[in-house]
Symmetry: D2
Subunit: 253 residues, 4 copies
């Protein structure tokens, strides 16, 4: 653990004032900015204009709720054992927001950045990437969905929001080009999915891939409040327990 | 684990559509509702009007960021050991959003509900509650702050937002009355703090006390993204480790 | 946050030695003490004699594994989304080790301490406690089990270990007396359950109630390793997802 | 989520009996097996002989406690905000048991397996691995320590336990060979560290790399109980908060 001169530029306060990135919380922010605008500003340090706001709102709305996901189930099963700790049940649900579902947006964003860096060679790069994934039998992050066929309905809605809000469309265009290359290479249609579209939209507003997962976690945290409030009024955790127990029976080795 | 007929009313979907509380996600929500409005609707099942939106935005903006809190430190120290899991570092930071800091909003809300139920006897009830807390040397939830003196600046800002947004002002009024009784009984001024004010504001828009902590968790989740993104670019976790190690030296028993 | 002179007496180290509670880790502990003995010593600061060791081993063995519990299911569902973070899946499973299942050992221990403090009046105190719980329709912590009837098989095994290991038997005796009063008051047999028996056993070796839950968490952490290793080789998370989704269908409000 | 015929072979039970991997919990395990033996059997499905027991006890004793680590600090800072949830504070501490500290045992184990697979070419393979890490300026997992110089004292103690307990010594030997190649290539001595030694020991008893981190999590869970029990009696969380706040001051951008 080497000595560091670590500093923070997020927040300072005194007895009567709080400043978040040099804006006075009580006179400049509370009542004058939406939560979405505040979050964009707090995280990135940049002002949240109408374009960023429209895109980030759309992204956060998209990922919040999708029924009895593993994440929602983990939160409800945890609440069954520890109702004294709402934060614990939310945390349990968030711990599954990892590499396999929404975390694929990082992989998708990385590919889109590669394509952007290829300039005129973007189509050739796309063909190479698709060919390599096919050869290694790896799925392409941002494509395919277990429930939604032939097309996940969210990407089109997200692209429309982005374009109406005035993004450049560069990353959306690259994702659509990649999609065409995939369909050609596989000889069948594979949908762009929500995390692929969100990767493109967040790149349009300059959110770096390394922090994208954070916005997915934020959105799911909100969704889990809804699940746990429903759990308080209409408990489902007991039924879930019974269901998982029945679904995975004992079998002697 | 008794058999239950558990159901959910949060979300349904088919191959081409997703409905959250019967609204079509892609045609009615994405691009047409802010994250704050969506969250209010998803959690409570009610439409989010301009009053609810203004109040909830103000509440979420208020709690998001307050510097190097124990929560932010826990998240950064966790990230130091497991940078592969942004969700794990966020979850670690959220696990401290419990009874001692923001969780006091539930205690505060419970007292405000008691006062509301007392009708004309609210002042007498307030005096009793204050006397009882003094006798038991228990702190009154929603009052006092370690840093902000003589007054936490956030309650006034929050009350102004609420009143401008058209809340009835019933719970704000009860909290202000309670504050006067406290000052009288203690013979000195104790500030209403942010969690006290937020308890009143959330009651004004009919958010039940049992789920209030969820909104604090949501707001802090956003704040932790900012801390971890800063940690990625300007690591402070090593300096924190060194600091806690020095702050708590070994002493033989 | 008041200034404190905080110190720790757990561990000190230099470039070539590590001392845990003043024992040299490498020359006095590794290879010379079992994990159970080490844990008892590290947590309590006392030496772990053969009595403490036998009791703590029995307690930790008892709570480790009980099939597809909500805790095991939460861990497996979390692993499905984030296999890169074994620690995250274990943490998710541990977050449900709260007030409703194993956490009842604290309530049970508190009652046993009350009985112990009552001296000759223990039976009268037991009758009062039982009557009060009946009047308030509250379940008695440490009694009853959803699966095991008429008797949870674990308490008898635990008591036998404790007695063979030379505990005084004071708390076991009080729990058995309480059990008789419960059966008399309810007019039917209610089993002592594992957490009740464990509360008594841990009191016999002077483990304070405030930290008992920690040993349950430790034991379950071990059990979850087994579940996640099985999940690596024979994935069940997908089947669990499908099962909870089917078990809690959508119903329009 | 494809349909699966998921089963478990960990545990079955009926009204009066519990079986863990076909052993009767109450008649064959409680009082007849140590926690360490039980855990080895529950996780791996194999009997825990004296060799496995000695090795696993030594491993678990080694990793349990090392002072005010980031993990211990995260747990204590979390407990400060949520003392109602001991499990939450433990979970927060465990979330940092990731790729950067103890998680390096997986990387170390992977290299040792590569060496083992190389048969007579092990030394050449070791030279290649060392050269490649040097060229990429990557640290070699299992080597080096920030505090312990010139040698981490734990590996020698662990190797002695393993050899006395009758392991084959194959992986210990390969790690020692790798250590010699490293010292030669770097022209200076780099210590084998605890996680490197533990990787070798766990391979000696056939614990697969994919689950090794679980045992580190288990050991640290125990250590965190000790930290939180000390925190209950001698709170240090407030001093830690103050220390991290002072260590990372605000600096305007």
């Amino acid at each position: 653990m080497k000595s560091t001169n670590a500093t923070t530029e997020l927040c300072r306060y005194n007895e009567t004032e709080i400043f978040v990135r040099e804006r006075n919380l009580c006179t400049e922010l509370i009542g004058k900015t939406s939560f979405t605008e505040f979050v964009f500003m707090q995280v990135t340090g940049r002002n949240c204009g109408p374009t960023e706001r429209a895109v980030l709102d759309a992204v956060l709305v998209t990922l919040c709720e999708h029924g009895m996901t593993p994440s929602a189930a983990a939160a409800r099963l945890t609440y069954l054992g520890a109702p004294e700790s709402l934060q614990g049940a939310i945390a349990a649900g968030l711990l599954g927001v990892g590499s396999q579902f929404v975390g694929t947006m990082e992989g998708s964003a990385t590919i889109l950045c590669q394509l952007a860096d290829s300039g005129d060679g973007a189509e050739a790069t796309a063909r190479d990437i698709v060919a390599q994934h096919r050869a290694e039998k790896k799925s392409l992050p941002g494509f395919g969905h277990p429930h939604h066929r032939p097309d996940d309905p969210r990407p089109a809605a997200l692209f429309a929001v982005g374009r109406a809000a005035g993004v450049s469309g560069r990353y959306i265009g690259l994702l659509e080009m990649l999609s065409r290359e995939i369909d050609r290479a596989y000889g069948r249609h594979l949908t762009i999915n929500a995390t692929g579209a969100i990767a493109a939209l967040l790149l349009e507003i300059d959110v770096p891939p390394s922090v994208m997962r954070g916005f997915a976690v934020l959105s799911r945290a909100a969704g889990l409040i809804g699940h746990l409030y429903e759990e308080q009024r209409k408990p489902a955790g007991g039924a879930m327990w019974k269901a998982v127990d029945a679904a995975v029976p004992y079998e002697a080795p």
